[in-house]
């Protein structure tokens, strides 16, 4: 029996050493040490042995069992290390294989930039308003100091709705100024974002439907200096750094004084396509709220002063994302949309 155990041990050591992987090792362990394993057989045969032999065989069998458990563990560990080493070596890795594409939808680029703009203003305490796109003539023109015979009101510039002519497709987001002032007493800090319509021929830079951002701030000590500061803060957030600006005269009937704000081109040092080689980009029309606009909404122009500004969201989006044709925005072409 002693011999048999010795032989078993030799065989078992050989098998364990020769095991190729964890699976094989498991089989070996079951065959050696399992309930029906060879060692169990040996142990089961003990009662049939000479009493004198029993202790020795029992001890040897147990010793072998302990030893094999140890070698199994050691072999398992060694195989593990081998596997890890192979894993780490990773000889079949091909770094040039492409990634599996994560499939998702997309947010419209106008939405992306609109959110950026809205978030800058809400962080500065502005409310975001919308206002109707089918607008009363009164709000779109009259209350904004745009008289009945103003050229902007001609049929070739403004979409009029049928039925009496008191409804138009709003030509700017400025009516929201008046709607705001009508509703409550100053102070106000509001921004309005939305669709506007002008009867334009469509080309790479013009569409009859586009988006505007309008701002209105009214309070007891609001100056042109605050207006510049506000827009510089917006530009810094949109372009990621402080940009130089310049203010120059501009004419809009609902502000006085009226300005245009140019921003130093963020894309070049000495002129590029975006800034038409001037290093300045026209960004925004703006000004101090016209006393007649205050009067239309019964705001006391002696007590309060205010500023208003408006800029095109489409052009800003084109600038920020490098888009060269405004017509992509409303075309619903997935080849365009999937890029955002």
């Amino acid at each position: 029996m002693e011999e048999r155990i010795g032989q078993l041990g030799t065989e078992a050591r050989g098998r364990i050493e020769g095991a190729a992987d964890a699976e094989a090792l498991k089989t070996i362990e079951r065959e050696l040490l399992g309930k029906q394993g060879v060692l169990a057989e040996v142990l089961a045969s003990i009662p049939g042995l000479e009493p004198a032999e029993r202790p020795l065989v029992g001890r040897l069998a147990n010793e072998l069992k302990c030893e094999l458990l140890g070698s199994l563990a050691a072999r398992r560990e060694a195989l593990d290390q081998e596997r890890l080493a192979t894993d780490r070596a990773c000889d079949d890795f091909d770094p040039t294989l492409p990634a599996r594409r994560a499939v998702r939808g997309s947010l419209h680029p106008i939405t992306r930039v609109r959110r950026k703009v809205e978030d800058v203003f809400t962080s500065m305490g502005y409310s975001i308003l919308e206002g109707p796109q089918v607008e009363l003539d009164y709000y779109n023109f009259q209350a904004l100091n745009i008289p009945a015979d103003h050229p902007a009101r001609e049929m070739q510039d403004t979409f009029y709705c049928t039925g009496g002519g008191n409804l138009v497709m709003r030509t700017h987001t400025s009516p929201v100024q008046v709607r705001t002032m009508e509703r409550a007493e100053p102070p106000y800090r509001v921004v309005s974002v939305g669709r506007v319509f002008r009867k334009e021929e469509q080309d790479a830079t013009h569409d009859h439907t586009f988006h505007q951002v309008e701002g209105l701030v009214v309070g007891e000590d609001v100056t042109a200096g605050h207006l510049i500061g506000t827009l510089r803060a917006l530009l810094a957030r949109l372009f990621g750094r402080e940009l130089d600006t310049r203010l120059r005269p501009g004419y809009f009937p609902f502000v006085e004084p009226g300005f245009e704000l140019d921003v130093r081109c963020p894309f070049c040092e000495d002129g590029c396509r975006v800034c038409s080689r001037t290093t300045w980009i026209e960004f925004c029309g703006l000004g101090m709220v016209h006393p007649r606009v205050f009067a239309a909404s019964d705001v006391d122009a002696e007590r309060y002063t205010g500023f208003a500004f408006g800029f095109g969201l489409d052009r800003l989006t084109m600038m920020l994302l490098g888009i060269d044709d405004v017509r992509h925005f409303m075309a619903g072409d997935l080849r365009f949309l999937e890029q955002f």
């Binding site: 499939v103 998702r104 939808g105 997309s106 947010l107 419209h108 106008i110 939405t111 959110r115 809205e118 809400t122 500065m124 305490g125 409310s127 975001i128 109707p132 089918v134 009363l136 015979d149 050229p151 979409f159 009029y160 709705c161 049928t162 039925g163 002519g165 008191n166 409804l167 669709r195 469509q202 439907t209 309070g219 100056t223 042109a224 200096g225 605050h226 510049i228 500061g229 506000t230 510089r232 203010l247 120059r248 005269p249 004419y251 006085e256 004084p257 009226g258 300005f259 245009e260 101090m288 016209h290 006393p291 002063t305 925005f329 409303m330 619903g332 072409d333 997935l334 080849r335 949309l337």
Partner: protein
């Protein structure tokens, strides 16, 4: 508008300022400059030459061989074909290598055997006019060898000003106005200009009768003794610099006065006018006239006419008539300088498609005080060229107008407060004086009384704030210190719709794999008819971009459906959504505004799945799932889905495969919030989704306003079960009319509270199930919050389910 810096120097000395500085200062203080350019840059290359000798070409009758000194070591031999070339002339010579307009490069040539080392140029070859009957003979004192531009003092930089930035400044539509601005900006003197009318004879003035209020002033002046001919070079060059083709003295002069003072004017051949004088009246319906471009124009009652007696001779403020235009032999003129109603001129010009330099100026509303000054300017300029001209009679000055000059009070504090710039009263007054406002410090401290001249008064400067702008732009806006807003800031009021919109956009554009689009608000009659929506009321445009595209959308779905085809051509799976506004005219408020509604539109189109696909493989089930997920993510309970009865306003929906979703509204009721539907089968072909583009299409519409009125989800967190669940798969073979909801109810009943979830995973119809029957297979999860379930629980459940299946007229097929 083009402005010549050389022309400006007739009015203001801009010495020491580079053209770029002039341009930038205009941009920063007055009006936007779009760019600058050099006038006729080739005139720097073309040099003054002296024709030393001229011999006839031995082999060509019409050619001459000239020896021309251009200041080089040796004179050049140049062959010239002009009849007027002669020895002793100063001429413009383009030497070999010179490039003339039209990319015409001068090369060494042999002409009929004679070598020619350049070209003696005509006016037309230099792009300085249309004359081509001979070479351009220069002044005898022009210095030989010097560039023509320098020799004749023609160097000029042309500044292009954006017309749009001048719409509110009628006074700036001529060089003198711009010169006045530059004088103010750079604090220089505006040179005086004599605008008084020279003495006239005492003949009978021209009779003028104004019959329409659209003409507020009409100055008519007879001029005699004119000799028609070409203009002098100085005048031609100024006009060329600002892009006007010189024609003849009288036309050029008329243009010159317009471009100098901004006041359009018209010269008639007085001999061709009828005796009874000028009548200004509105056209009669059906009246026609021929304008001097030779076109016959059909007129209407809104067009203002200048008539000679009853005969139309000009379209007021737009264009003269063919029948009275000045001719080569004209000697007696009638000069018209008038003020016409801006709106009348604009509308006529637009309607007739005839927008001229004159109409552009009248449209801005010209200073009524200007016509007599402009008349004087024209006459004075004409007599400086032709001293023999005379004025036989005093001018006629008809109309009802008044000088617009006014006085405006300006509080210095108002300037400081609006601009946020600390200016002294003196700086403010100084700035205004530079702009030619009269300023007196009034009786009250800190109040300036500002006299506004007629040319700035009216719409331009009438209020205190208008003067604030004048001060600001002249002291320089760059001086305004940049400040941040201060004050109490409360968080803006909660905006549920904006938040919900963002949640929806994010969810759909993320895992749901939908692409956000923006579609036009205007829908065509054709699209609505295709979709069967043409009888619905729509807000309509009176003047759409194109015929028929005049319906303002009342839902986002039609616009989305119209976008599917082009995308399906390139993609097997197209998922589009839009969040936006739509308008319902039938619900207008007391002010006549249509009701604005906010909705989400979704369209999903893809290649149809095969017959053996899972029961829920199609777009319809997919879209329903997207909507369920969206509502859950937005914080709502699972919606109740009900069969849809069909509605005319949603004719795009399949009459049966459509479900409407509703949610609890918070007042114990249910509110419909949306619809998911397969596309109406008849629309596939008309939307281009048939044949090779055959598609499975589902459409959904969610009502944002409705959602905002619904109660948010009631239950919150559900505890994680402590005991493991038992999973069973069961299949029920039943009559096909038994709904899945009935089966689920049966399964839940049989679980006696232990059914944690029950999910349909297969629907099978086939012979083994029997005709008219189907097998519904479910994954069922049994769990108890109190104990681990044993096999006995499962067996009991299945036994109960067996009986329940039998009650439903079917059987339990498997475990």
């Amino acid at each position: 508008m083009l402005i010549s810096t050389r022309w400006l120097s007739r009015h203001v000395d801009l010495g020491g300022l580079a053209p770029e500085e002039i341009a930038e200062s205009l941009t920063l203080s007055t009006a936007e400059v779009e760019g600058t350019s050099t006038f006729a840059p080739h005139l720097d290359q073309v040099r003054v030459g002296f024709v030393q000798a001229r011999e006839p070409h031995p082999d060509a009758d019409k050619l001459s061989i000239c020896t021309v000194d251009v200041g080089g070591a040796e004179p050049l031999q140049i062959v010239c074909g002009a009849p007027n070339v002669d020895a002793g002339q100063k001429v413009a010579v383009a030497e070999v290598g010179c490039v003339l307009p039209g990319d015409f490069k001068i090369k060494k040539a042999k002409i009929r055997g004679a070598a020619s080392a350049g070209m003696i140029c005509s006016v037309r070859e230099l792009d300085l006019g249309d004359e081509h009957d001979g070479i351009w003979v220069l002044d005898a004192d022009a210095p030989v060898g010097v560039g023509v531009a320098e020799a004749l003092d023609l160097r000029d930089t042309v500044i292009e000003i954006d017309n749009k930035s001048l719409t509110h400044r009628p006074d700036l539509w001529g060089h003198r106005g711009i010169a006045g601005e530059l004088a103010a900006i750079h604090d220089r003197e505006l040179l005086p200009l004599d605008l008084s009318l020279p003495p006239t004879g005492d003949g009978r003035p021209v009779a003028v009768r104004i019959e329409s209020e659209a003409c507020s002033r009409y100055v008519a002046l007879a001029v005699d003794g004119v000799r028609q001919g070409p203009s002098p070079d100085w005048l031609r060059m100024l006009l060329l610099a600002v892009g006007q083709r010189p024609l003849d003295l009288l036309v050029d002069l008329s243009n010159f006065v317009m471009l100098d003072l901004g006041q359009p004017n018209h010269l008639f051949d007085r001999g061709r006018l009828a005796g009874e004088g000028i009548v200004v009246r509105m056209a009669r319906p059906g009246e026609r006239t021929t304008t001097l471009d030779g076109e016959e124009r059909a007129l209407g009652e809104e067009d203002l006419l200048i008539c000679s007696g009853d005969e139309p001779v000009a379209l007021a403020g737009i264009m003269g008539g063919e029948g009275s235009k000045v001719l080569d032999g004209t000697t007696e003129l009638l000069l018209e300088v008038a003020r016409f109603d801006p709106v009348t001129v604009r509308r006529s010009a637009i309607r007739l498609g005839l927008r001229s330099d004159a109409s552009a100026r009248f449209e801005k509303g010209l200073d009524p005080a200007l016509p007599m000054e402009a008349a004087a300017h024209l006459v004075r300029t004409l007599s400086s060229i032709q001293p023999q001209v005379s004025l036989p009679s005093p001018p006629t000055d008809e109309g009802s107008w008044s000088d617009q000059a006014c006085e405006v009070e300006l509080r210095a504090e108002r300037v400081r407060r609006l601009l946020g710039l600390d200016l002294s009263d003196e700086e403010i007054a100084g700035g205004l004086r530079r702009l030619q406002f009269g300023v007196s410090t009034g009786a009250r401290e800190g109040v300036l009384r500002v006299a506004v001249p007629s040319r700035r008064a009216g719409k331009d400067v009438a209020l205190e704030e208008d003067l604030v702008e004048e001060v600001g732009r002249i002291v320089g806006y760059e001086r305004i210190p940049v400040r941040s807003l201060t004050g109490e800031i409360a968080p803006p009021p909660y905006d549920g719709r904006r938040e919900l919109t963002r949640v929806i956009q994010d969810r759909l554009s993320g895992g749901a794999r939908f692409h956000e689009v923006l579609s036009y608000s205007f829908l065509s009659d054709e699209l609505l008819a295709t979709l069967g929506l043409d009888e619905l009321p729509h807000v309509r445009l009176a003047n759409p971009v194109c015929e028929g595209e005049h319906n303002v959308r009342r839902s986002l779905v039609p616009g989305l459906l119209a976008m599917v085809e082009q995308n399906r051509r390139r993609r097997e799976d197209v998922r589009l959504f839009e969040v936006g506004e739509a308008y319902l005219p039938e619900h207008e408020n007391e002010r006549g505004e249509p009701r604005e509604v906010h909705e989400v539109g979704l369209v999903w189109a893809c290649v149809p799945s095969g017959a053996d696909a899972r029961f829920d493989a199609g777009c319809f089930c997919g879209l329903q799932g997207v909507v369920e997920d969206l509502l859950a993510f937005a914080g709502y309970d699972a919606p109740t889905w009900e069969a849809w009865a069909g509605e005319r306003s949603k004719a795009w929906a399949h009459p049966r495969r459509a479900l409407r979703a509703s949610l609890p509204d918070g007042d114990g009721g249910q509110r419909e919030v949306g619809l998911v539907a397969a596309l109406e089968p008849g629309l596939h072909r008309s939307l281009g989704l048939a044949d090779e583009l055959a598609s499975d299409v589902a459409v959904a519409r969610l009502d944002l306003d409705g959602l905002l009125a619904c109660a948010p989800r009631t239950g919150g967190y559900r505890p994680i079960p402590r005991y493991p669940a038992t999973k069973l798969d069961v299949a029920l073979a039943l009559d096909a009319t038994v709904g899945v909801d009935a089966c689920v109810a049966a399964i839940e009943r049989c679980g006696k509270g232990l059914v944690a979830s029950c999910e349909l995973f297969d629907v099978f119809c086939g012979e083994s199930v029997g005709a008219g029957r189907r097998s519904l297979a479910f994954h069922v999860l049994l769990a108890s919050p109190e104990r681990t379930l044993g096999e006995a629980d499962g067996r009991k459940f299945l036994r109960r389910l067996e009986r329940a299946a039998a009650d439903l007229g079917g059987e339990l097929r498997s475990e």
